[in-house]
């Protein structure tokens, strides 16, 4: 059964120190992989130097967490945010934290809020910015639209609407 050569097991608490040691020795972070299995997770960090690979393996319980290695490898923030979102891995001390929403959800708030004269997007109406992602969370609850995607014409007032 083939297994990864040059793969060292580490505990989560020692991960940043190990990464710092590899960085000092000229190893480049290739990426990280998270393998969820029933009741546990395996997180692998892959490094390269002179076309040779080295791996760090962290075994975690299902609710275990790892610290971010972004302080050592600044480019790690994308893969860490991805593992957080897609594999549900808890990562602490993220320098750039997308809040578990690296990949925006476009099935969400495409609705409109209407006032007397105009329709504004549901995000804008909730007072949120675009970087709050497309299913914004307010008070721990996802804001999803109840209205349709096509803005309806506002009702005319008794005096009628003027164009000026």
């Amino acid at each position: 059964m083939p297994m990864l050569a040059d793969c060292a097991p580490v505990v989560a608490e020692a991960l940043v120190a190990e990464a710092r040691s590899l960085h000092k020795d000229g190893w480049r972070l290739v990426t990280a992989s998270c393998v969820p299995r029933p009741g546990r997770r395996t997180v692998l960090y892959h490094f390269e130097r002179d076309e040779a690979l080295r791996h760090l393996r962290v075994e975690l319980s299902a609710d275990g967490s790892v610290p971010s290695i972004g302080s050592v490898y600044p480019g790690a923030f994308l893969v860490e945010n991805e593992m957080k979102e897609l594999q549900g891995l808890a990562i602490t001390d993220l320098a750039v934290d997308y809040g578990g929403r690296l990949y925006r959800d476009f099935d969400g708030p495409e609705g409109w809020a209407h006032d007397e004269h105009e329709a504004t997007s549901i995000i804008e109406a909730a007072g949120l910015g675009r970087l709050d992602a497309c299913v914004p969370v307010v008070d721990g609850r996802e804001v999803r639209p109840a209205s349709t995607r096509v803005p309806a014409a506002p009702p005319e007032s008794e005096e009628g609407r003027s164009d000026d």
Binding site: L4, G75, V79, Y103, R104
Partner: protein
């Protein structure tokens, strides 16, 4: 009273629809007047969940799925995945199949670089360069059609080898096609090398110094343009052990250097295509080795895709489908460069700087 001496800060959502950006990404740019002070990439416009889907299918059915991660470098994804599965199965790929893979792989690099150069021409307002590059690229796509029957997603790679062969009788026509591509590229040269319009728009834009590029883990032409000589092909995977290459390196680290690296790599790829055809001529042997349907263990695979290192990791727990397939694409590795290169850039330079890393969001989001 308004403070006229302090630049105002404005947040500009750059993309996902933008006239010169063919990729669905949004960069949240914070500007102080016209100068970028912060840039945060926003993803999610083409995320398809392909990695998760591979965990439900047999190994051989994952291959055509992963080929569709990206239309431009489909051969790279197919070969990288196949190599990882072959490592898991501990089988050796026949020499003829390795040479055929190399031929289609390098042809892919030529068409990818020409496609990018055309888009770069379009971005800098050089429409003639755009049209000329894509005309030459059509000749490369004709070679794909001639040898594989498809223009973009070739479907030639199989687990343990290749699905299609190139008969000896076809080789003279392929060589004639390669000569035509080379002539076309030769005609393009004055519009790229030493052209003042190109140099003025690309030189000094999106600079990433070598140590920063290495620290951020950048790959492919993006890191080689910063003076770092890394190229996965030098590890000798596939048929690169008998057809070695020297990494193409530039040192300026700007958009112009990235253009020159890709330009010179096209010439290298033409040479590799010809040399692989020379070796295939008269070579006899099987096209593939059988790969068992149930696998156990872990394996990684790396190939040098047109945009840089493409990495696959597979975990298998003795079932007829993988437990986990991890795909790290070149653009995923190169996106952190955006955060470094954009601050300090004029707003007008952002499209060119971003385009210079040859971003592929279809790859990145999978």
């Amino acid at each position: 009273m308004t403070d006229l001496l302090t630049p105002s800060r404005t947040v500009v959502p750059f993309g996902p629809q933008h006239p010169v950006l063919a990729e669905p990404i949004q960069i949240e740019l914070t500007l102080a007047d016209e100068v970028v002070v912060d840039a945060v990439p926003g993803l999610g416009y083409v995320h398809r969940g392909i990695e998760a889907e591979t965990e439900r299918r047999p190994y051989d059915e994952d291959l055509p799925l992963l080929e569709r991660v990206c239309g431009i470098c489909s051969v790279a994804h197919a070969v990288a995945y196949a190599q990882a599965v072959e490592a898991l199965a501990e089988v050796e790929v026949p020499r003829r199949a390795r040479l055929l893979r190399l031929f289609w792989f390098e042809l892919t690099r030529i068409h990818s670089h020409l496609l990018w150069l055309g888009l770069a021409g379009d971005a800098i307002g050089f429409e003639a360069l755009f049209q000329s590059c894509w005309r030459v690229r059509e000749d490369v796509l004709d070679l794909f059609t001639m040898t594989a029957g498809n223009r973009v997603i070739l479907g030639v790679t199989a687990l343990g080898g290749v699905r299609r062969d190139i008969p000896d009788g076809l080789i003279p026509r392929i060589v004639a096609g390669l000569n035509k591509v080379e002539r076309g590229i030769g005609q393009l040269a004055p519009f790229v090398l030493g052209n003042e319009a190109v140099a003025r728009r690309l030189a000094g834009v999106g600079v990433v110094p070598g140590p920063v590029a290495r620290d951020l883990g950048l790959v492919g032409p993006t890191v080689r343009a910063s003076g770092v000589a890394v190229d996965v092909r030098t590890s000798g995977y596939g048929a690169y052990d008998e057809l070695p290459i020297e990494p193409v390196v530039e040192t300026a680290g700007d958009a112009l250097a990235r253009t020159l690296v890709r330009w010179r790599e096209v010439g290298d790829s033409l040479r590799l295509c010809r040399e692989s055809l020379d070796r295939l001529s008269g070579l006899r042997g099987p096209l593939r080795t059988r790969v068992p349907p149930v696998l156990h263990g872990e394996a990684t695979s790396r190939v040098e895709a047109p945009r840089g290192e493409l990495f696959y990791y597979i975990a298998a727990d003795g079932e007829p489908h993988p437990t986990r397939v991890r795909v790290r694409t070149p653009t995923f590795a190169n996106l952190p460069a955006v955060i470094h290169m954009l601050p300090g850039t004029q707003m007008a330079g952002v499209p060119v700087a971003l385009l210079s890393i040859d971003p592929c969001l279809s790859c990145t989001e999978r």
